[in-house]
Symmetry: C2
Subunit: 192 residues, 2 copies
Protein backbone atom coordinates (compact mmCIF):
# COMPACT_ATOMS: atom_id res chain seq x y z
CA UNK A 1 0.00 0.00 0.00
CA UNK A 2 1.33 3.39 -1.06
CA UNK A 3 1.76 5.71 1.95
CA UNK A 4 -0.24 8.89 1.42
CA UNK A 5 1.54 12.22 1.21
CA UNK A 6 1.14 15.02 3.74
CA UNK A 7 -0.42 18.42 3.07
CA UNK A 8 1.79 21.30 4.24
CA UNK A 9 0.45 24.84 4.40
CA UNK A 10 2.96 27.69 4.45
CA UNK A 11 1.97 31.22 5.41
CA UNK A 12 3.92 34.30 6.37
CA UNK A 13 3.76 38.05 5.90
CA UNK A 14 4.84 39.72 2.67
CA UNK A 15 8.60 40.29 2.79
CA UNK A 16 9.35 37.41 5.16
CA UNK A 17 11.16 35.52 2.40
CA UNK A 18 8.52 32.83 1.79
CA UNK A 19 9.20 32.71 -1.96
CA UNK A 20 12.96 32.35 -1.54
CA UNK A 21 12.66 29.68 1.15
CA UNK A 22 10.06 27.70 -0.82
CA UNK A 23 12.08 27.90 -4.06
CA UNK A 24 14.92 26.10 -2.24
CA UNK A 25 12.67 23.58 -0.50
CA UNK A 26 10.80 22.76 -3.72
CA UNK A 27 13.97 21.50 -5.40
CA UNK A 28 13.00 18.19 -3.76
CA UNK A 29 11.20 16.23 -6.51
CA UNK A 30 9.03 14.48 -3.90
CA UNK A 31 7.25 17.75 -3.18
CA UNK A 32 4.40 19.14 -5.23
CA UNK A 33 3.62 22.83 -5.11
CA UNK A 34 -0.09 23.45 -5.42
CA UNK A 35 -0.95 26.02 -8.09
CA UNK A 36 -3.83 28.31 -7.18
CA UNK A 37 -6.79 29.03 -9.39
CA UNK A 38 -7.97 32.57 -10.12
CA UNK A 39 -10.50 34.43 -12.21
CA UNK A 40 -8.34 37.51 -12.65
CA UNK A 41 -6.93 38.36 -16.09
CA UNK A 42 -3.66 36.66 -17.06
CA UNK A 43 -0.79 39.18 -16.97
CA UNK A 44 2.02 39.46 -19.51
CA UNK A 45 4.48 36.64 -19.05
CA UNK A 46 2.13 34.50 -16.99
CA UNK A 47 1.38 30.96 -18.13
CA UNK A 48 -1.88 29.10 -17.46
CA UNK A 49 -1.16 26.14 -15.17
CA UNK A 50 2.22 27.56 -14.11
CA UNK A 51 1.52 30.84 -12.31
CA UNK A 52 -2.17 30.13 -11.82
CA UNK A 53 -4.94 28.05 -13.28
CA UNK A 54 -6.94 30.76 -15.02
CA UNK A 55 -10.69 30.16 -14.88
CA UNK A 56 -13.77 32.12 -15.88
CA UNK A 57 -16.17 33.18 -13.14
CA UNK A 58 -18.62 30.51 -14.34
CA UNK A 59 -15.96 27.78 -14.19
CA UNK A 60 -14.81 28.84 -10.72
CA UNK A 61 -18.35 29.00 -9.36
CA UNK A 62 -19.11 25.58 -10.84
CA UNK A 63 -16.05 24.20 -9.01
CA UNK A 64 -17.21 25.79 -5.74
CA UNK A 65 -20.63 24.15 -6.17
CA UNK A 66 -19.04 20.75 -6.82
CA UNK A 67 -16.83 21.14 -3.69
CA UNK A 68 -13.89 21.15 -6.08
CA UNK A 69 -12.16 24.05 -4.27
CA UNK A 70 -10.43 23.36 -0.93
CA UNK A 71 -10.48 27.02 0.12
CA UNK A 72 -11.10 30.24 -1.71
CA UNK A 73 -11.44 33.95 -1.20
CA UNK A 74 -12.54 36.96 -3.21
CA UNK A 75 -10.18 39.93 -3.59
CA UNK A 76 -10.82 42.96 -5.81
CA UNK A 77 -13.78 41.23 -7.44
CA UNK A 78 -11.84 38.10 -8.40
CA UNK A 79 -11.79 34.58 -7.00
CA UNK A 80 -8.58 32.98 -5.76
CA UNK A 81 -8.56 29.41 -4.48
CA UNK A 82 -7.00 25.97 -4.25
CA UNK A 83 -8.40 23.32 -6.62
CA UNK A 84 -9.03 20.12 -4.67
CA UNK A 85 -8.35 17.45 -7.30
CA UNK A 86 -4.62 18.00 -8.05
CA UNK A 87 -3.91 18.22 -4.31
CA UNK A 88 -5.73 14.97 -3.56
CA UNK A 89 -4.24 13.17 -6.59
CA UNK A 90 -0.69 14.05 -5.49
CA UNK A 91 -1.36 13.06 -1.86
CA UNK A 92 -2.80 9.72 -3.04
CA UNK A 93 0.31 9.18 -5.16
CA UNK A 94 2.40 9.59 -1.99
CA UNK A 95 3.73 13.07 -2.73
CA UNK A 96 3.78 15.79 -0.10
CA UNK A 97 1.90 18.89 -1.23
CA UNK A 98 2.86 22.46 -0.35
CA UNK A 99 0.18 25.17 -0.30
CA UNK A 100 1.31 28.76 0.04
CA UNK A 101 -1.73 30.64 1.33
CA UNK A 102 -2.67 33.41 3.73
CA UNK A 103 -3.76 32.98 7.33
CA UNK A 104 -7.49 32.95 6.51
CA UNK A 105 -6.99 30.27 3.86
CA UNK A 106 -4.79 28.28 6.24
CA UNK A 107 -7.50 28.26 8.91
CA UNK A 108 -10.01 27.04 6.30
CA UNK A 109 -7.63 24.23 5.29
CA UNK A 110 -7.25 23.25 8.94
CA UNK A 111 -11.02 22.75 9.15
CA UNK A 112 -11.32 20.81 5.88
CA UNK A 113 -8.09 18.80 6.21
CA UNK A 114 -7.36 18.28 9.92
CA UNK A 115 -4.22 16.27 9.07
CA UNK A 116 -2.64 19.23 7.27
CA UNK A 117 0.57 20.55 8.85
CA UNK A 118 0.69 24.35 9.16
CA UNK A 119 3.96 26.31 9.02
CA UNK A 120 4.26 30.01 9.69
CA UNK A 121 7.34 31.76 8.34
CA UNK A 122 8.31 34.79 10.44
CA UNK A 123 10.72 37.65 9.95
CA UNK A 124 13.01 37.96 13.00
CA UNK A 125 11.24 41.25 13.83
CA UNK A 126 9.01 43.90 12.28
CA UNK A 127 12.09 46.13 12.16
CA UNK A 128 13.91 43.57 9.99
CA UNK A 129 10.85 43.25 7.78
CA UNK A 130 10.66 47.03 7.29
CA UNK A 131 14.37 47.10 6.50
CA UNK A 132 14.02 44.28 3.92
CA UNK A 133 11.06 45.95 2.23
CA UNK A 134 12.99 49.25 2.06
CA UNK A 135 16.02 47.50 0.55
CA UNK A 136 13.87 46.11 -2.28
CA UNK A 137 13.31 49.75 -3.26
CA UNK A 138 10.14 48.90 -5.19
CA UNK A 139 7.57 50.45 -2.86
CA UNK A 140 6.82 53.86 -1.38
CA UNK A 141 7.24 54.32 2.37
CA UNK A 142 3.48 54.50 2.70
CA UNK A 143 3.05 51.07 1.08
CA UNK A 144 5.88 49.68 3.20
CA UNK A 145 4.25 50.91 6.41
CA UNK A 146 0.94 49.37 5.32
CA UNK A 147 2.70 46.06 4.73
CA UNK A 148 4.45 46.18 8.08
CA UNK A 149 1.11 46.84 9.80
CA UNK A 150 -0.45 43.96 7.84
CA UNK A 151 2.48 41.69 8.84
CA UNK A 152 1.90 42.64 12.46
CA UNK A 153 -1.74 41.53 12.19
CA UNK A 154 -0.79 38.28 10.42
CA UNK A 155 1.92 37.43 12.93
CA UNK A 156 -0.71 37.55 15.66
CA UNK A 157 -2.21 34.45 14.00
CA UNK A 158 1.06 32.49 14.16
CA UNK A 159 -0.03 30.74 17.34
CA UNK A 160 -2.64 28.86 15.29
CA UNK A 161 0.14 27.10 13.36
CA UNK A 162 1.90 23.83 14.14
CA UNK A 163 5.38 25.20 13.47
CA UNK A 164 6.94 28.64 13.48
CA UNK A 165 10.09 29.10 11.41
CA UNK A 166 12.01 32.32 11.85
CA UNK A 167 13.69 33.43 8.64
CA UNK A 168 16.76 35.18 9.99
CA UNK A 169 19.48 33.30 8.07
CA UNK A 170 18.04 31.86 4.82
CA UNK A 171 19.93 28.52 4.97
CA UNK A 172 18.68 27.90 8.52
CA UNK A 173 15.07 28.62 7.58
CA UNK A 174 15.34 26.29 4.56
CA UNK A 175 16.87 23.55 6.76
CA UNK A 176 14.08 24.07 9.33
CA UNK A 177 11.36 23.63 6.71
CA UNK A 178 13.13 20.59 5.24
CA UNK A 179 13.47 19.09 8.74
CA UNK A 180 9.77 19.65 9.44
CA UNK A 181 8.80 17.87 6.21
CA UNK A 182 11.17 14.97 6.95
CA UNK A 183 10.07 14.70 10.59
CA UNK A 184 6.38 14.73 9.70
CA UNK A 185 7.07 11.83 7.33
CA UNK A 186 8.11 9.85 10.45
CA UNK A 187 5.15 11.00 12.54
CA UNK A 188 3.03 8.23 13.96
CA UNK A 189 -0.53 8.94 12.89
CA UNK A 190 -1.95 5.94 14.76
CA UNK A 191 -0.96 7.76 17.96
CA UNK A 192 -3.36 7.55 20.88
CA UNK B 1 14.51 34.56 28.38
CA UNK B 2 16.34 31.32 27.57
CA UNK B 3 14.13 28.94 25.57
CA UNK B 4 13.83 25.64 27.42
CA UNK B 5 15.17 22.46 25.84
CA UNK B 6 13.00 19.54 24.78
CA UNK B 7 13.07 16.07 26.31
CA UNK B 8 13.40 13.32 23.69
CA UNK B 9 12.86 9.67 24.61
CA UNK B 10 14.31 7.03 22.30
CA UNK B 11 13.25 3.39 22.51
CA UNK B 12 13.65 0.43 20.22
CA UNK B 13 14.28 -3.29 20.42
CA UNK B 14 17.71 -4.73 21.03
CA UNK B 15 19.54 -5.02 17.70
CA UNK B 16 17.65 -2.20 16.00
CA UNK B 17 20.78 -0.04 15.92
CA UNK B 18 19.79 2.47 18.63
CA UNK B 19 23.33 2.81 19.93
CA UNK B 20 24.83 3.44 16.49
CA UNK B 21 22.14 5.95 15.51
CA UNK B 22 22.39 7.81 18.83
CA UNK B 23 26.20 7.92 18.71
CA UNK B 24 25.91 9.84 15.41
CA UNK B 25 23.10 12.10 16.59
CA UNK B 26 24.87 12.93 19.87
CA UNK B 27 27.80 14.48 18.03
CA UNK B 28 25.65 17.63 18.18
CA UNK B 29 26.97 19.58 21.20
CA UNK B 30 23.51 21.04 21.84
CA UNK B 31 22.23 17.62 22.87
CA UNK B 32 22.70 16.11 26.31
CA UNK B 33 22.49 12.36 26.76
CA UNK B 34 20.95 11.46 30.09
CA UNK B 35 23.04 8.98 32.06
CA UNK B 36 20.99 6.43 33.98
CA UNK B 37 21.49 5.58 37.63
CA UNK B 38 21.79 1.99 38.84
CA UNK B 39 22.50 0.04 42.00
CA UNK B 40 24.21 -2.85 40.23
CA UNK B 41 27.94 -3.42 40.70
CA UNK B 42 30.25 -1.42 38.43
CA UNK B 43 31.82 -3.69 35.80
CA UNK B 44 35.44 -3.65 34.65
CA UNK B 45 36.04 -0.66 32.40
CA UNK B 46 32.90 1.19 33.50
CA UNK B 47 33.24 4.69 34.89
CA UNK B 48 30.89 6.25 37.44
CA UNK B 49 29.05 9.16 35.82
CA UNK B 50 29.91 7.96 32.30
CA UNK B 51 28.28 4.56 31.82
CA UNK B 52 25.97 4.96 34.80
CA UNK B 53 25.68 6.88 38.01
CA UNK B 54 26.40 4.10 40.50
CA UNK B 55 24.36 4.40 43.70
CA UNK B 56 23.83 2.26 46.76
CA UNK B 57 20.34 0.87 47.44
CA UNK B 58 19.95 3.40 50.26
CA UNK B 59 20.95 6.33 48.00
CA UNK B 60 18.61 5.20 45.21
CA UNK B 61 15.68 4.71 47.59
CA UNK B 62 16.33 8.12 49.14
CA UNK B 63 16.16 9.64 45.63
CA UNK B 64 12.88 7.83 44.92
CA UNK B 65 11.40 9.19 48.16
CA UNK B 66 12.51 12.73 47.28
CA UNK B 67 10.94 12.38 43.78
CA UNK B 68 14.47 12.70 42.43
CA UNK B 69 14.01 9.88 39.89
CA UNK B 70 11.92 10.54 36.75
CA UNK B 71 11.28 6.86 36.11
CA UNK B 72 12.81 3.66 37.41
CA UNK B 73 12.50 -0.10 37.28
CA UNK B 74 13.94 -3.08 39.12
CA UNK B 75 15.67 -5.83 37.14
CA UNK B 76 17.51 -8.78 38.70
CA UNK B 77 17.28 -7.22 42.13
CA UNK B 78 18.84 -3.90 41.07
CA UNK B 79 17.37 -0.47 40.49
CA UNK B 80 17.76 1.32 37.15
CA UNK B 81 16.40 4.83 36.66
CA UNK B 82 16.69 8.37 35.34
CA UNK B 83 17.84 11.00 37.85
CA UNK B 84 15.59 14.05 37.56
CA UNK B 85 18.00 16.88 38.40
CA UNK B 86 20.54 16.66 35.55
CA UNK B 87 17.68 16.34 33.04
CA UNK B 88 15.88 19.39 34.40
CA UNK B 89 19.09 21.43 34.70
CA UNK B 90 19.97 20.78 31.06
CA UNK B 91 16.44 21.55 29.84
CA UNK B 92 16.47 24.81 31.84
CA UNK B 93 19.82 25.69 30.24
CA UNK B 94 18.16 25.30 26.81
CA UNK B 95 19.72 21.97 25.88
CA UNK B 96 17.69 19.16 24.40
CA UNK B 97 17.97 15.98 26.46
CA UNK B 98 17.97 12.45 25.03
CA UNK B 99 16.80 9.55 27.19
CA UNK B 100 17.36 6.03 25.89
CA UNK B 101 14.88 3.86 27.78
CA UNK B 102 12.57 0.91 27.26
CA UNK B 103 8.87 1.10 26.42
CA UNK B 104 7.73 0.88 30.03
CA UNK B 105 10.05 3.71 31.06
CA UNK B 106 8.93 5.75 28.05
CA UNK B 107 5.28 5.43 29.05
CA UNK B 108 6.18 6.58 32.58
CA UNK B 109 8.02 9.60 31.16
CA UNK B 110 4.97 10.44 29.04
CA UNK B 111 2.88 10.62 32.23
CA UNK B 112 5.41 12.68 34.21
CA UNK B 113 6.56 14.93 31.34
CA UNK B 114 3.69 15.33 28.87
CA UNK B 115 5.83 17.63 26.68
CA UNK B 116 8.41 14.89 26.08
CA UNK B 117 8.75 13.75 22.46
CA UNK B 118 8.83 9.97 22.04
CA UNK B 119 10.74 8.27 19.19
CA UNK B 120 10.61 4.59 18.44
CA UNK B 121 13.44 3.12 16.38
CA UNK B 122 12.35 0.09 14.35
CA UNK B 123 14.21 -2.54 12.40
CA UNK B 124 12.74 -2.82 8.87
CA UNK B 125 11.40 -6.26 9.84
CA UNK B 126 11.83 -9.01 12.44
CA UNK B 127 13.65 -11.01 9.74
CA UNK B 128 16.23 -8.21 9.35
CA UNK B 129 16.60 -8.02 13.12
CA UNK B 130 17.21 -11.78 13.36
CA UNK B 131 19.75 -11.51 10.55
CA UNK B 132 21.59 -8.64 12.26
CA UNK B 133 21.71 -10.44 15.59
CA UNK B 134 23.06 -13.58 13.86
CA UNK B 135 25.74 -11.54 12.06
CA UNK B 136 27.01 -10.21 15.41
CA UNK B 137 27.84 -13.82 16.22
CA UNK B 138 27.88 -13.14 19.97
CA UNK B 139 24.68 -14.98 20.97
CA UNK B 140 23.31 -18.50 20.70
CA UNK B 141 20.31 -19.08 18.43
CA UNK B 142 18.18 -19.56 21.52
CA UNK B 143 19.10 -16.12 22.86
CA UNK B 144 18.56 -14.60 19.40
CA UNK B 145 15.06 -16.08 19.15
CA UNK B 146 14.25 -14.74 22.62
CA UNK B 147 15.40 -11.29 21.56
CA UNK B 148 13.36 -11.43 18.36
CA UNK B 149 10.27 -12.43 20.34
CA UNK B 150 10.97 -9.60 22.81
CA UNK B 151 11.38 -7.15 19.89
CA UNK B 152 8.03 -8.30 18.52
CA UNK B 153 6.36 -7.47 21.86
CA UNK B 154 8.12 -4.08 22.07
CA UNK B 155 7.23 -3.15 18.49
CA UNK B 156 3.57 -3.61 19.38
CA UNK B 157 4.02 -0.54 21.66
CA UNK B 158 5.35 1.65 18.85
CA UNK B 159 1.91 3.16 18.28
CA UNK B 160 2.25 4.92 21.64
CA UNK B 161 5.16 6.99 20.28
CA UNK B 162 5.10 10.35 18.50
CA UNK B 163 7.52 9.28 15.77
CA UNK B 164 8.55 5.97 14.26
CA UNK B 165 11.96 5.86 12.57
CA UNK B 166 12.79 2.76 10.55
CA UNK B 167 16.49 1.94 10.67
CA UNK B 168 16.99 0.37 7.28
CA UNK B 169 19.84 2.57 5.98
CA UNK B 170 21.82 4.03 8.91
CA UNK B 171 22.38 7.48 7.34
CA UNK B 172 18.65 7.83 6.66
CA UNK B 173 17.71 6.89 10.22
CA UNK B 174 20.26 9.38 11.61
CA UNK B 175 18.92 12.11 9.30
CA UNK B 176 15.36 11.27 10.38
CA UNK B 177 16.21 11.62 14.08
CA UNK B 178 18.13 14.85 13.43
CA UNK B 179 15.16 16.20 11.44
CA UNK B 180 12.75 15.33 14.25
CA UNK B 181 14.92 17.18 16.79
CA UNK B 182 15.23 20.22 14.49
CA UNK B 183 11.52 20.23 13.63
CA UNK B 184 10.46 19.95 17.26
CA UNK B 185 12.62 22.99 17.99
CA UNK B 186 10.30 24.91 15.62
CA UNK B 187 7.12 23.43 17.08
CA UNK B 188 4.61 25.94 18.31
CA UNK B 189 3.84 25.01 21.88
CA UNK B 190 1.26 27.76 22.28
CA UNK B 191 -0.86 25.85 19.76
CA UNK B 192 -4.59 25.64 20.43
Amino acid sequence: MQKKGILFVVSGPSGCGKGTVLAEVLKDPNLYFSISATTRIMRDGEVDGVNYHFYSDAQFEELIREDGILEYARYCNHYYGTPRKPVEDQLEAGKHVILEIDVVGAMNIRKKCPDAVLLFLMPPSLETLRHRLCKRGTETMEVIEKRVAQADREMACADQYDYIVINDVLEDAVADVQAIIRAESCRNYTEK
